[in-house]
Subunit: 230 residues, 2 copies
C-alpha cells in the first residue's frame, strides 16, 4: 500500500522546502517504499490526519499514523526491517539523535537566518502572518532582525559545518560507507536553504559541497528534482 | 594477556589528564579487558613502542601495536567482538566519527582555553617548553592569549554543550540505553578539564552534569578515581 506523506509547502506546491519533511522523503526513498506526497500549507497543518500533530511531516501507512521525522524513520526501521537500514544498528539510531540535536540547535540557527526572508516570501499571505508570529515568538527576534543576520550567518556557515567536514575525512557519508538517516538530517538543513535562498552556501572545493551534491543525486536525483531558488 | 596502554602524564604520574587517553581507558574498561597503564610525558612520546606514533594513546596487545584513540576502539571492537560493543553496530561506528569530529573541532576548542593554564602548570619544565611551542603553533595564539580566553570559554560552555543536552532528552546516554564509545569521546573532553582546572563547568541541574557524573561512576568509578584539580 502506498504511504501518504503530508508535507509542508508554500504558495507553490511544487517547491516543498521543510527540512524535516525532506528527512522523511529521503527516509521513505531509502527504504524503497512507494509513497505519495500530499501538500499542506502552514495554517492547514492542524487539520492533517484529524489533528494528530502540530507539525509535519506526518505519514499514514495503512492504519498507522506517525508524526515527527525521527519517529517516522524509527517507525520505518521497525516496520520494514528487511529493507535497507536507516540507522545501521542500535548505536547508529542512538547517535543519529546526536546528529539531529546538533543540526537542530546549531546548524538550523545559522540556516534560518540565511533562509528566513526567502521562506517568508514563498508563502501565501495567510501563512506569512502565521509564520511571522510563530517564528518571532520562537526565536525571540523580529523577522527583520533575523534577515539582518543573513550576512553574518553566511560567513559563519563554513565554520559551523566543520564537524561534517572532518567526518567526511574518515568516510564518504555521515553514515559510513553508504548514506543513513543521519545524512538526511544534515541534508534536510542544506536543502531547506537551497530551496528558499539563492545564496551560494558552499565553496566548490569544500568536501561538504561534494557530499551535498551526492545527496542530491540519491534515488534518481530526488532532492535535485526541485531546482534551487532563483 | 594484559594490554599495555601508554598514557600521557604531567609531573604527577598519578594524574593522567589527556582526553584522548581517557577515551582509550574507558574503551578498555568497557570491553572488560585487563590492562596496565604505562605513563609517558610529552617529550617521551616519540620513544613509545619504538616511535610508532607522534601521539598517545598507544596500546600494545600481544604483538599488535595500535595508536589513536578511535583506531584503538575500532581495533578492540574487531578483535573482541564477543565482549560488549563499543559502537552498537556499523552505523554507530560511523556516527561516532561525527561525535568525535564535533568534540575535536568545537568542544575541545572551548575546553582548551579553560584548561590551558592548568595543563601547562601540571607539566615538568622540559614538557612545559614543548607544550608551549607545539600548542602555540597549532592554535595560532600565545599561551597567554589562550589563558585570557578562559572566562569567555567558561561562559560559552553551556551553549556549546547544547547538542549533548538535547540528545539526553531522548535517551540516558549518547550511545542510547547504555554508554558507548561516543560517550567516552565527550567524557574525555570534560574529564580533561576536570583534572586540570578547578573551574565549575556545569550547573547542578544541567542534564549534562548528571550524565558526566554517571560517566565518572562507570567501571567502579574509574574516572572518579583521580580527584578533580584543586
Amino acid at each position: 500500500m502506498t504511504i501518504i506523506l503530508h508535507e509542508l509547502v508554500g504558495a507553490d506546491p511544487a517547491r516543498p522546502f521543510s527540512p524535516h519533511c525532506w528527512k522523511a522523503v529521503m527516509a521513505l526513498a531509502h527504504k524503497g517504499l512507494p509513497f505519495e506526497r500530499s501538500n499542506v500549507c502552514f495554517t492547514k497543518v492542524p487539520e492533517v490526519e484529524g489533528g494528530v500533530s502540530k507539525t509535519v511531516p506526518v505519514i499514514r501507512d495503512g492504519d498507522q499514523v506517525v508524526s515527527d521525522s525521527f519517529m517516522i524513520a524509527a517507525y520505518l526501521e521497525e516496520t520494514y526491517p528487511d529493507r535497507p537500514s536507516l540507522f545501521g544498528g542500535e548505536g547508529g539510531q542512538a547517535m543519529a539523535r546526536f546528529v539531529e540535536s546538533w543540526t537542530n540547535t546549531v546548524l538550523h540557527g545559522v540556516m534560518r537566518d540565511i533562509a528566513m526572508k526567502g521562506i517568508h516570501d514563498a508563502l501565501a499571505p495567510v501563512d506569512q502572518a502565521y509564520f511571522r508570529s510563530s517564528r518571532e515568538a520562537r526565536v525571540g527576534k523580529t523577522l527583520e532582525q533575523m534577515v539582518e543576520g543573513r550576512e553574518a550567518a553566511l560567513a559563519a556557515l563554513p565554520g559551523t559545518l566543520m564537524p561534517v567536514r572532518v567526518t567526511l575525512k574518515s568516510q564518504p557519508w555521515i553514515g559510513g560507507s553508504s548514506p543513513l538517516f543521519a545524512d538526511y538530517i544534515v541534508f534536510g538543513a542544506l536543502q531547506w536553504v537551497r530551496l528558499t535562498s539563492n545564496a551560494r552556501l558552499l565553496e566548490a572545493d569544500d568536501p561538504v559541497k561534494d557530499w551535498f551534491e551526492r545527496c542530491l543525486d540519491l534515488y534518481d536525483g530526488l532532492g535535485r528534482s526541485v531546482p534551487q531558488s532563483a
